[in-house]
């Protein structure tokens, strides 16, 4: 892989960079809100993957005209991504709603503190089980 290929396909470089930043944030961050932000970045990278693959060099917006020689971008990925954006918004909404409920009942949105509370409850249950 030489540098010119990377530069020629710079859109994919951005997509992969965003994808990894998002994915890493989801895995490595303990704060649930930061996890959701990471998830959004991860999903956005996929939107960009689709949108950039539909782009055709010198192509304009895909609007019907009488000129048969007009070059236009492929509109299908755009439409798909409209759906994916809606799905992403819904996922984010459900995720934040869950975070609010977690904050209300655990008094924290830090993953390690929640895990600690869960472990204590599991331990208490095990002890109750033995008696």
């Amino acid at each position: 892989m030489n540098l010119s290929i990377l530069i020629a396909q710079w859109n994919y470089v951005i997509v992969i960079a965003l994808m990894m930043i998002g994915f890493y944030t989801v895995i490595a961050r303990g704060n649930l809100i930061k996890k959701m932000v990471g998830l959004n970045i991860f999903q956005t990278s996929v939107f960009m993957l689709y949108i950039s693959m539909g782009k055709i060099q010198d192509g304009t917006a895909p609007i019907l005209s009488d000129d048969p020689t007009m070059i236009y971008s492929n509109p299908l990925p755009h439409v798909l991504i409209l759906t994916a954006i809606v799905v992403g918004v819904a996922t984010t909404a459900v995720g934040y709603a869950l975070i609010i409920r977690i904050q209300e009942s655990f008094d924290t949105i830090e993953e390690d503190e929640i895990t600690e509370a869960l472990n204590e409850e599991a331990l208490a249950e095990r002890l109750a089980e033995q008696h």
Binding site: L32, F42, V46, M53, A84, V94, E129
Partner: protein, 496 residues
């Protein structure tokens, strides 16, 4: 009847439209009535599809909005998904029947209609994933069923706040899985220029050995491994199943992972095909290896659990391992074994979780200590769990036996002795956790001062309908075996 021509779409549209209707009416009795009626109607539609497809032997191609295939989205009902659809719709109808009592016991009365709305959406989403012939449409339905499933798991927080982190983890991992799937579909679209599954399958061989195609295969497989909870990507499943309301655990344990297994089969075998470059190592090494590991580790984990919902959730990991082994063999009989297992396991797990629900509705949680001596007080409910457990081990006269028989036969056809030994070992180990339940529930006396358990036929009938089905399909196995082999034939024709 003419409207039955529209059965491929009606089975999805009916539950999908009932969901907003339930929210508008906001009456919990009407909500259940509508849910029950629509799941029954859906079951009849899917049964009609199954019978029609098996009678004519030809796939039904339903063009949405009368737009033909390359432009519009088509639903293709062939022998493979006509076999899966009635299973999902049937189990959904039975679970909806059980929901009447379980929802009253476990969920805040104000949330009932919202619960049924999410319930209908998740059912519609699962049926949609199976029925559609369009790769992106699968993603949309996958998210419809998953998003409502996250909400359904979270409703369990009314009983146990641990449902909330369980639902959140499920959301994170589920979304990652679905996004991986979309990345894979995008890469496939790049090289083939179509989203229609049949068209992709036709164009892929001409494209040959490309990095893009291989990356698409990897992304889609990984995404579906996450959604089907294949070991070691199963960590979301156990908490989600054990803290969700009982009836949600029953529906999800019975159907949700099976739908993902079906989608995986459809993409791996129906789109890429066994001859796709890299497929042999994906199936023979990854799926077979993870399947064996999952079958063993799931069973061992189940033995250590004292909470029965967690125990049977762990056993699902083992069962999904068996299904992965069937796929990993990459033969017709292996694929058929997975189709048989998929069907039987849905019935078995549905029965067990509905029976557990009847107990959880009274005790909150079902643990080894609080069901001590329960067999004397609630014989029918405990017997349903017992029959389910025997089917999980694979004892004769249960459907589980048929699953194990065909799986072992498929493994031995390939001469994979090591895999066969591990499969049998995992089945024998399953005996330990089922025996533990028998010992606690049947051989111990109910301790003094323990809450008195009660049961009425209304509480156990739904579990027993599924138990009866497991026994029926254990004795009259031809129907399922024939259907599974013709489904497998569709994907791996000719060889073997």
């Amino acid at each position: 009847m003419n409207f039955l021509l529209h059965a491929p779409i009606l089975q999805i549209v009916v539950p999908l439209l009932v969901a907003p209707l339930i929210i508008l009416l906001r009456n919990r009795h009407i909500a259940w009535g509508l849910a029950m009626a629509s799941t029954l109607a859906t079951f009849l539609f899917t049964l009609h599809l199954f019978l029609t497809v098996n009678e004519t032997g030809e796939a039904i191609i339903y063009e949405l909005g009368n737009w033909p295939a390359p432009i519009g989205i088509v639903y293709v009902i062939d022998v493979a998904n006509a076999y899966v659809l009635p299973l999902i719709a049937g189990v959904s109808a039975i679970a909806t029947f059980a929901a009447r009592g379980l929802v009253n016991a476990e969920i805040d009365i104000r949330d009932h209609s919202l619960f049924y709305a999410a319930w209908m959406l998740t059912i519609a989403g699962m049926l949609g994933q199976v029925a559609t012939g369009d790769a992106f449409n699968i993603f949309v339905f996958l998210e419809i069923s998953s998003l409502s499933a996250y909400a359904l798991v979270a409703i369990g927080a009314g009983n146990d706040r641990r449902a909330l982190p369980a639902a959140f983890n499920y959301l994170i991992l589920g979304t990652i899985g679905a996004t991986f799937y979309v990345i894979g579909v995008g890469l496939l679209y790049m090289v083939t220029g179509t989203l229609n599954l049949v068209d992709i399958a036709q164009r892929l061989p001409a494209i040959g050995d490309t990095h893009t195609g291989f990356a698409a295969l990897a992304f889609i497989s990984l995404g579906m491994f996450l959604k089907m909870a294949l070991f070691p990507l199963h960590f979301w499943l156990v908490p989600a199943y054990s803290y969700a309301p009982s009836v949600v655990s029953a529906l999800m344990a019975a159907t949700a992972t099976k739908v993902s297994v079906y989608v995986l089969i459809r993409i791996l075998f129906g789109v890429f095909g066994v001859d796709f470059p890299g497929m042999d190592s994906l199936l023979g090494v990854v799926l077979l290896g993870l399947g064996v590991a999952g079958a063993l580790i799931g069973t061992v984990a189940a033995i250590t659990e004292t909470d029965l919902k967690r125990l049977f959730a762990q056993s699902s990991i083992a069962q999904l391992g068996y299904m992965a082994i069937g796929l990993g063999l990459a033969t017709k009989s292996g694929l058929a074994a997975t189709f048989i297992n998929l069907f039987n396991h849905a019935l078995i797990k549905g029965a067990i979780f509905l029976a557990l629900g009847a107990i959880a509705a009274q005790l909150g949680r079902v643990t080894m200590s609080n069901i001590q001596g329960a067999a004397k007080q609630i014989p029918m409910t405990i017997a349903a769990i017992l029959f389910g457990g025997m089917a999980l081990i694979g004892l004769p006269l249960t459907a589980g036996f048929i699953s194990k028989l065909y799986l072992l036969r498929a493994i031995l056809e390939e001469g994979a002795w090591v895999v066969a030994v591990f499969t049998v070992m995992s089945s024998i180990l399953a005996l330990i956790y089922v025996w533990k339940i028998i010992e606690v529930a049947y051989l111990n006396d109910r301790p003094k001062g323990a809450p008195v358990l009660t049961e009425t036929p209304a509480q156990w009938i739904s579990a027993w309908v599924l138990v009866a089905a497991t026994i029926y399909f254990g004795v009259q196995a031809e129907i399922i075996v024939d259907a599974a082999f013709s489904a497998a034939d569709l994907f791996i024709g000719g060889n073997q």
